[in-house]
């Protein structure tokens, strides 16, 4: 490590976040991202990494995608954040663009947050207003953000620290893929909404069993609860359609998109709301106020993101990347059958499962040493989040697979001892 980086890390510990800065050093990942371009990150010491983390799809279209940079630049010639109180050209234009591609025809309104957490809070508040009920059901190990309401839907690791966990019995968590538990939670008809990531990301992408999500939606209808689809990580073409919930036949009442919608260039998050659920927007349109939410520059970038991800070429690319990566990973899995034991996949959303309770951490480290940046699942460290971008080239995918094969082998040897050679 360079002297410059050592000194920088000291400053990072001193002025930014001592715990987080140190944790990465302890995990053997001494990354300080400097330059970034396409699917590449460059450490401040110059080392190149292929980015398979993409911050949950924030960089779907690559880092500093030139078209998005241009949209932001050109947008800044005319717009700034805008005045959040007034009807605004860009906010309405993005709302229309979202309505035109919404997963349900009745989704006419868009409310804006400045980030995913705020958008989740808006969604939960909207559901509470629409149903006049307070309870929210989410999945055990769910992750929807760190704001006031969102943090209560998730793992208590993030709420208890701040004495912000639910104490009123309003936030109920049920195991994923367990319909009986879901029905038990809803049976009392006192639940405002079920909030569901179409594929729980931070939990390592456990995949919904066939029929699970539509059954949850039917239970919501039966017990007068709303279905909120959290498409922050699964949306924007990552599963081969613009919103993954439609692949499972779901027409949600409320949907949240974030991260990738801002193209990694301008943070913005959006809540799509059906006419039926949007009562507060008429009763008191000032009910939720956000100075940064729906900033018009963000809207300009988001419209370009929506246009880009809906190009027919992107659909083909996603399919090719999914199929090609899967074929290559299947081969690697066959090389290390005692360690690399499973692949969870929907489109370019993938979780690689290892036969060790912390297995994804050494894989992450060895991939890092081999020029690939992919992160373990915080809430299930057996699983490595493996998330190629929508526009990856064949050469880049081939390069990733070459490095993954090496990294997985090294991690296996580290955890399980020198490999018995076969063949």
């Amino acid at each position: 490590m360079s002297q410059a980086k050592l000194e920088f890390l000291d400053r990072s510990r001193a002025f930014w976040n001592p715990g987080k800065t140190q944790d990465w050093q302890d995990m053997g990942v001494d990354l300080v991202i400097d330059r970034r371009e396409g699917y590449y990150l460059y450490d401040m010491d110059g080392r190149r990494l292929i980015d398979l983390h993409l911050n949950g799809g924030t960089y779907n279209l690559g880092h500093r995608n030139a078209e998005l940079v241009e949209a932001l630049r050109a947008g800044a010639e005319r717009f700034d954040m805008g005045n959040h109180h007034f009807p605004a050209l860009a906010r309405t234009a993005l709302a229309e663009a979202l309505a035109a591609c919404a997963p349900a025809p009745e989704m006419v309104y868009t409310a804006y947050g400045s980030g995913g957490g705020e958008a989740i809070d808006i969604a939960l508040k909207t559901a509470r207003h629409a149903t006049q009920k307070r309870k929210i059901v989410s999945i055990v190990k769910a992750y929807h953000g760190h704001t006031g309401l969102a943090v209560k839907t998730g793992d208590d690791r993030f709420s208890k620290l701040f004495l912000s966990e639910d104490t009123q019995g309003e936030f109920i968590q049920v195991p994923f893929n367990d319909l009986n538990a879901m029905e038990d939670a809803l049976r009392g008809r006192d639940v405002a909404a079920v909030i569901m990531e179409t594929i729980p990301a931070t939990y390592g992408f456990p995949m919904p069993k066939e029929g699970y999500l539509p059954a949850v939606k039917r239970l919501c209808e039966r017990y007068d609860a709303l279905y909120i689809a959290d498409e922050v990580q699964t949306g924007l073409m990552r599963c081969g359609e613009i919103w993954a919930c439609t692949k499972y036949g779901i027409e949600p009442d409320i949907m949240v998109t974030g991260k990738g919608i801002g193209g990694g260039m301008y943070p913005i998050a959006c809540v799509l709301i059906t006419e039926r659920c949007g009562g507060w927007l008429k009763e008191d349109g000032f009910g939720h106020i956000s100075t940064g939410g729906g900033a018009e520059l963000g809207c300009i970038v988001a419209m370009k993101v929506l246009e880009m991800v809906q190009r027919p070429e992107v659909r083909t690319m996603v399919r090719n990347i999914s199929d090609y990566m899967r074929a290559g990973l299947d081969q690697i899995m066959a090389e290390y059958p005692d360690f690399f034991i499973g692949i969870r996949q929907h489109g370019v959303v993938m979780g690689l499962e290892f036969n060790h309770e912390q297995g994804a951490k050494p894989v992450m480290k060895h991939l890092y040493d081999n020029g690939v940046w992919a992160i373990f699942s915080t809430l299930d460290p057996r699983v490595l989040q493996f998330k190629p971008g929508l526009l990856m080239t064949q050469a880049e995918c081939e390069e990733v697979l070459r490095r993954v094969e090496i990294g997985v082998g090294l991690a296996r040897d580290e955890l399980m001892g020198a490999r018995r050679r076969h063949g």
């Binding site: 050209l89 692949k247 083909t316």
Partner: protein, 525 residues
């Protein structure tokens, strides 16, 4: 109220947007090309045949559309060209194998075909559909992906035609994106495509500026220059047949093909008889006044009048105020000079044939060389003669890479009434500042990796016959876990893959079958 998708900040003309769009199309093509290389010859040819059938089936419809959109040419002739670039083109190459390795025992070499990757194909307005058919089929034969940039004047019919062939290809099993077309081919956008490192080879057919631009793009290119074919009618020729063939050639699609005869050269001794033969073949022989009118009309102050391209002889005569009988097929324009002084000795792409008389065969050759020096070097020429010595001297002297003998040049040089390779891209070679001098065919879209053994007799050559070439076909579809009808969660095989070392004597097919059975057992299916 219905939502409208509007553009508040339009960046579509910015370099970033143009490059972004080009990159996306080309990257989709690169993926398709990469997957296509997994295909074996049977599947490749099944796709080629399906696309040829679609091209054949659409021949008439797009012939009409092209004439309506561009104003160039004759529907019936375009239909013929569109058909010729379907089944006959494929049949011409049917027995050639551009997919499997070639084994050369004598030289101890194995040659493995390697597709170029992504072909960037520029297509002209004069032969839009035939060129599209042809470029797509030779790309598919060689397992290349192709991106077509149509001439803007023929954009609509080209886009529709290419889409139809793309659909036929994908339905026959080709990778998605193997055939794409640029729907709004503006010059800055096309330049982005041509200059991109994702383009493997540019196949440029069209005007000089476009071809030079292709060569300047820094991508490998096969560009072909314009034609301006001289035709020499020797005294030894059957004059009546020669006139009929030349009229047939010039009136075919109203000379919209660049292989059409541009300047006829004949000997003084045959002049009168040849003119008579032309009249009988429904050519109008212009007088001095007619020629002056033609010259003014075809080459006005601003240069060549593109209005005349592919128009019929009667229409052109009317535009110029020349009286001709109904049914006149071509206009014969006697000119006293060849060269810069006489614009009619340039390429005309319409059924107007400059007609020049010389005193000797030697002078005929000198004038033919002068025609090609003016324009059309490396392209085509024709000779009508009964004397092979004349044909030989003419062909050896003119700077053209194809000299058609006793046949219509339009069709003959393009390989449709001769044994030349059928093509819509005429290599103009070194004379025409191009890289290839042949009629362009599939062989130009691949290169070969050569395994070359030690030539020493003590080092034996390997047994390559029957060796698997590693064709694995289309990529298997990845599961979308939990989606009804998807393959579902796939569990790994519990044991390591057996290799040939551990199971001697087992063929790969048997291995595949064993692994499949093992998987089925694990999955309980």
């Amino acid at each position: 109220m219905e939502p409208q998708v509007r553009t508040l900040v339009d960046i579509s003309g910015s370099p970033a947007a143009l490059k972004g769009r080009a990159d996306l199309v080309l990257e989709r093509a690169r993926w398709a090309a990469e997957i296509f290389q997994r295909y074996d010859r049977d599947l490749t040819m099944a796709i080629v045949d399906a696309v040829a059938a679609a091209a054949h089936g659409n021949a008439g419809r797009y012939a009409e559309w092209a004439v309506k959109e561009t104003g160039f040419g004759v529907v019936e002739h375009k239909r013929h060209k569109n058909e010729m670039t379907a089944f006959p083109l494929v049949d011409f190459y049917r027995d050639e194998d551009f997919v499997n390795p070639r084994i050369d025992e004598a030289r101890k070499m194995v040659e493995i075909p390697r597709p170029a990757g992504v072909i960037m194909a520029l297509t002209p307005s004069t032969n839009p559909i035939a060129t599209i058919n042809y470029k797509i089929l030779i790309s598919l034969m060689t397992r290349n992906a192709i991106v077509i940039s149509p001439h803007p004047a023929a954009r609509e019919c080209s886009v529709d035609a290419a889409r139809a062939l793309a659909q036929a290809a994908v339905e026959a099993g080709a990778p998605d994106g193997v055939i794409q077309i640029i729907e709004d081919p503006t010059i800055p956008l096309v330049e982005q495509f041509m200059g991109s490192p994702k383009t493997s080879l540019i196949l440029a057919t069209g005007g000089t500026a476009m071809v030079r631009s292709a060569y300047s793009s820094s991508s490998p290119a096969i560009g072909v220059g314009p034609g301006n074919a001289p035709v020499f009618v020797d005294s030894s020729a059957d004059l009546s047949k020669a006139a009929k063939r030349i009229v047939e050639s010039k009136s075919f699609d109203n000379s919209a093909l660049c292989t059409n005869e541009s300047v006829l050269i004949t000997l003084a001794e045959t002049d009168a008889r040849l003119r008579q033969c032309f009249k009988q073949a429904r050519a109008h022989v212009c007088d001095d006044d007619d020629v002056a009118r033609l010259r003014r009309y075809l080459f006005h102050d601003r240069g060549f009048n593109i209005e005349c391209i592919g128009r019929d002889a009667v229409w052109i005569a009317q535009e110029c105020g020349i009286r001709v009988p109904d049914g006149t097929l071509i206009l014969l324009a006697p000119v006293g000079q060849i060269g810069v002084e006489e614009p009619l000795s340039r390429e005309k792409l319409c059924p107007v044939l400059a007609y020049h008389t010389v005193n000797s065969r030697r002078q005929a050759i000198a004038q033919a060389r002068a025609v090609l020096r003016l324009a059309g070097a490396g392209h085509s020429a024709a000779v009508h003669t009964g004397d092979e010595q004349v044909a030989m001297q003419f062909a050896a002297a003119v700077e053209a890479y194809r000299v058609v003998v006793n046949a219509p040049c339009t069709q003959g040089a393009a390989g449709f009434q001769t044994a030349l390779a059928p093509t819509f891209t005429i290599g103009t070679g070194f004379f025409g500042r191009s890289s290839v001098g042949e009629n362009i065919g599939p062989q130009h879209l691949i290169q070969w990796t050569r395994l070359a053994y030690n030539s020493d007799a003590s080092e034996p050559f390997g047994h390559y016959h029957g060796l698997s070439s590693g064709f694995s076909g289309p990529l298997p579809e990845a599961p979308a876990d939990g989606v009804p009808g998807s393959n579902g969660y796939r569990t790994p095989s519990p044991s390591p893959r057996p290799s040939q070392d551990t199971l001697p004597g087992v063929t790969r097919d048997e291995l595949r079958r064993m692994i499949a059975e093992e998987l089925r057992a694990v999955l309980g299916k």
